[in-house]
Symmetry: C2
Subunit: 333 residues, 2 copies
C-alpha cells in the first residue's frame, strides 16, 4: 500500500475540497494506496460524514492542531507552527510513515518546509516547483515555476534533469525532450545565465536537450523538434508565463461575452474552455527534495486534488525518488 | 506635411507588402503626410504600378541599392551596408528630410542603427522596443519587448516614462497606468532588480505607477487597479511573454481543429481570432532615440504596415519626441 499524507487544512476551501478530492481519488483511482488526512479532526470528520460512501478503511486522520495560512512567512511558519498540518504531514513523510505529501496550502511555506524537513538530494542545490501547462498534443512541464526567481546556470541544468526524470517516470514519456526558454534559438541569444546554461545543457549526454526555444514553442509543437516535454527557465520567467497563461481562459470568456455571447454558451466551446482551465490539471511536483511533495493551487477543486493524489501515487509507484538520487549521485561521480 | 520614410526593402515580402501598406495608408488615413519609399527603384516601381489608384503626388522614391537581411549582424550591417534602405532611411530622418521611419526589417539592426544614427535622448541610457499586446478592454504596451535582455532598475524606470508618454501622446490615454511585471504584488517580491525598480518607480511622482503586477494582469483588467496601460519588464521576460501570446492563435486554431472543427469555421469565432491575430496590430515603437522609428514584424501584412505608418504620423503630429526630450531633461535637472 502506498501511503499519501494529505494536508487537509491547506487550500482556500479546506477541508471540504481536500476531503472531496480524497473521496474522488479513493473511488476512481487504482486501489493500491491509502490516505492520511492531516489536520483538525473536528473539521475533517463532518466533511467525511458528507461522503458516506467513502472507503474509511483506506483513510486515517492524523491530528494537527495548527494551520499555516497564505499570509504566514515561510520560515516563521515552520518554526512557530510545529503542530500545523504542513509540518506534521511532512514529518510523517520524512519518518517513513507516509510515502508522499500533498498540500494546497501556502506554496512558499511548503517549499521551505519540504527543504528543511525532507532535505535535498545529494548533488541538488535547490528544490524547484514544476508546473504542468495544458499544451498540444499533451501537457508539458515548466520548471522553475516561481519558487526560485534567480537561478544559476548550474541550477537550470539540475532542473532539466529533475523535469526529465519526472516526465519519464510519472508521465511515461520516453526520453523526454528538454528545451531552454530563451529569446531566440542561436547560441549567443539570451542573458549571461541563459547563454551559460545552454552550453552546459548541450554538454549533458544524459539529457535529450533540443536547444534554446522561444515563448511560441511552449504549448504548440516546435516546428522542427516537434512537441517538447520539459521547459527550463528561472522562476521569474516561469511564474510570469504561467500566470499569463492562466489568464487566457478569463480573456477568451470575456471576449466571447463581449462579441459573441451565444458562442460562449455553445457546447462546442467546452473542449477549448476545459483545455484552458488549470483547475483540471492538479498538482505541481516539488522536485529535488528527498520525498514526493506535491503542491496544489490554493483555489484547487476536488478534481485537482484527486489528480495531485494520482501524481503522488504514480511517483511513488515508479520509484522516482530513487531514480533522482541515482541520477545526481552518478552526476557528481 | 509629415514625411514618413518607409523602408521598402525590410520585410519578408518586400517590397510588395510595403507598397501595398503605403497604398492603404494613403487611401485610408488623414491626408497630412507623405511617404518616402526607400529602396531599389527597380523593385519598387513595378509594385507601385500594381496600385494604379495610388496618390503618386504624396510618394517619392529614395534610391538605396543595398538590403540588410534578417541574417545580418546588426553592427556589421550598419558599417558595411551604408547604402542600405535601413541606413539611408534613418539618415534621411536624422538629417530632417523625414520626420519618422518605418521598417519591417531586421529588428536588431534597426535598433542598433537607430541608436547610432539618431542618437539617444539626453538622460536615456538605452533605446527600447515597445510592443502592443491585444488586451481587454484595449491594447496595452509592454516594454522592453526583447531588445534588452538584461536591464538595470534605472533602465526599467526609463522604460516606464517612455511607455507612459507614448500611450498618452499616441494612444491618447490620459494619465496612463504603469505596472511592473513581477511574481507577486508585495514589495519584497521578485529578483534584486525588480525589487529595486519597484521602489524607484514608487518614488516617481510623474508616473501613475500602480505597483507590482503579475502575469495574469497583463491582458485582462487588474482586479483592483482596472486596466493598466503600460507594463515594464526586462526584454527577456517581455520577449518570452510576447511570443507565448503570439502562439495563442495557433493553439486555439489547432485545438478547435482537433475537437470541434465546425466551430473553427463559424463566423461567430472571427472576432476572437481577429483579436488574437498580431498581424492586426502593426508596429512596435522604438523609444528613447531622437526620432520616431517604428519596427514591424518581418512577416507583417500590408494592414500592419498601414497601422505602423498611422502610428508614426500620430507620433509626429503630437510632438512625442519633444515631450520625451523635455521629460528626461526635467528628470536630470
Amino acid at each position: 500500500m502506498i501511503r499519501v499524507a494529505l494536508d487537509a487544512m491547506g487550500g482556500d476551501n479546506a477541508p471540504a475540497v481536500e476531503v472531496e478530492g480524497a473521496a474522488l481519488a479513493l473511488a476512481e483511482l487504482a486501489a493500491d494506496f491509502s490516505l492520511l488526512l492531516v489536520g483538525r479532526p473536528e473539521a475533517i470528520e463532518p466533511q467525511l460524514a458528507a461522503h458516506p460512501d467513502i472507503d474509511r478503511s483506506r483513510i486515517s486522520i492524523v491530528p494537527a492542531t495548527e494551520v499555516v495560512t497564505m499570509d504566514d512567512k515561510p520560515l516563521q511558519a515552520i518554526r512557530q507552527k510545529r503542530d500545523s498540518s504542513l509540518v506534521v504531514g511532512l514529518s510523517l513523510h520524512h519518518e517513513g510513515k507516509a510515502d508522499a505529501f500533498v498540500s494546497a496550502g501556502n506554496t512558499g511555506a511548503t517549499l521551505a518546509a519540504a527543504t528543511v524537513i525532507l532535505g535535498l538530494h545529494e548533488g541538488v542545490d535547490r528544490a524547484t516547483v514544476a508546473s504542468f501547462f495544458p499544451a498540444l498534443p499533451e501537457p508539458i512541464l515548466v520548471l522553475d515555476a516561481g519558487a526560485n526567481v534567480d537561478c544559476s546556470a548550474r541550477e537550470l541544468v539540475n532542473f532539466a534533469h529533475l523535469g526529465a526524470l519526472y516526465m519519464r517516470d510519472v508521465l511515461h514519456r520516453e526520453n523526454p525532450k528538454v528545451g531552454l526558454i530563451n529569446v531566440g534559438e542561436e547560441d549567443e541569444k539570451g542573458n549571461k545565465i541563459a547563454r551559460e546554461a545552454h552550453l552546459l545543457l548541450r554538454a549533458e549526454s544524459r539529457l535529450n536537450y533540443v536547444g534554446n526555444v522561444e515563448g511560441r514553442d511552449i504549448v504548440v509543437p516546435h516546428p522542427e523538434h516537434g512537441p517538447i516535454d520539459v521547459f527550463v527557465c528561472d522562476g521569474f520567467v516561469g511564474n510570469v508565463v504561467l500566470k499569463f497563461y492562466e489568464s487566457m481562459s478569463t480573456l477568451v470568456k470575456a471576449l466571447l461575452e463581449r462579441d459573441t455571447p451565444e458562442l460562449l454558451r455553445s457546447p462546442d466551446l467546452r473542449p477549448l474552455m476545459k483545455f484552458l482551465d488549470y483547475g483540471e490539471y492538479g498538482g505541481a511536483p516539488l522536485l529535488g527534495v528527498r520525498g514526493v511533495p506535491i503542491i496544489c493551487h490554493g483555489s484547487s477543486t476536488a478534481f485537482a486534488v484527486k489528480n495531485a493524489i494520482r501524481m503522488a501515487v504514480e511517483s511513488v509507484r515508479t520509484g522516482l525518488n530513487a531514480h533522482i538520487a541515482a541520477e545526481f549521485a552518478q552526476h557528481d561521480g
